[in-house]
Amino acid sequence: MKYILMMTGTKADFDWYTKWPKKDLEAQFAFMHAFNKELKDSGAFVAAEGLAFPDQAKIVRAGKNGEPITDGVFPESKEFLAGYWIVDVESADEAYKIAARASAAPHPPRNGPGGTEDNQPIEVRQVMSGPPEELLR
């Protein structure tokens, strides 16, 4: 069973991330590197991608003639996907355990010194091999 583990954040979260001290960024890179290697060694790793920052995000709609209409304005509260992992595991619980590992990645206190130590929430959903059954019924 394949699951997708998604890290998301608002623009404010991304702004915070750009202000991390170098030491904290290095600690995070080292963690991610070891984490991905461990997933690969265990055979659970399927894919992982990091996305460009939200300031590069565009919303695209088809105009009447089918041409793309692009817009770069988003609500403050919008959650942007920062990156994801896809893992192939035996059960949902196994996916949740892996998500908890990603959640526990090292980070500086949120909102500066003395801020919260809250772990990063990771959204977990099964990846379907075809269209979701609930859409096909």
Partner: protein
């Protein structure tokens, strides 16, 4: 250049799709299937994945002992990723054109849904090798 084209919707939006007549759902998926085939033939197709519905989504955090704490309560306004396409194209404009094709997919009665598609560049190479999430983006951006 790789771009990810993301289709997202709220729970209310997903409930809207579920109410589509079967015929319209089939027409929509036939459209997507033809588009996937076209992108494969043009060499631009990298990957696509549909995701399980929002009702199955869990938010996972590590507890103090590192054990997963799962939660499935989300704000009404939350946009859930429903599926994505990754395409390898020559320019952002081409990614936008493909996103517009997705947006123009037929809805009920064959009327284009005009649903919004979020487009972002994928930070290739690094993302595959080492980093995930914002890390790759950060490196790329600081160049």
């Amino acid at each position: 250049m790789k771009y990810i084209l993301m289709m997202a919707s709220t729970k209310a939006g997903v409930n809207g799709y579920k109410a589509w007549p079967d015929k319209d759902i089939q027409t929509h998926f036939a459209y997507l299937h033809a588009l996937n085939k076209e992108l494969s033939e043009s060499g631009e197709f990298v990957a696509t994945q549909p995701l399980a519905g929002p009702n199955e989504a869990k938010l996972v955090r590590a507890g103090k002992d590192g054990a997963p704490i799962t939660d499935d309560v989300f704000p009404e306004a939350k946009e859930f990723l429903l599926g994505y396409w990754i395409v390898d194209v020559e320019s952002p404009q081409r990614a936008f054109e493909i996103a517009a094709r997705l947006s123009a997919g037929p809805g009920p009665g064959g009327v284009p849904t005009n649903m919004p598609i979020e487009v972002r560049q994928i930070m290739s190479g690094r993302a595959e090798e080492l980093d995930t999430a914002g890390s790759g983006a950060r490196i790329e951006r600081s160049r």
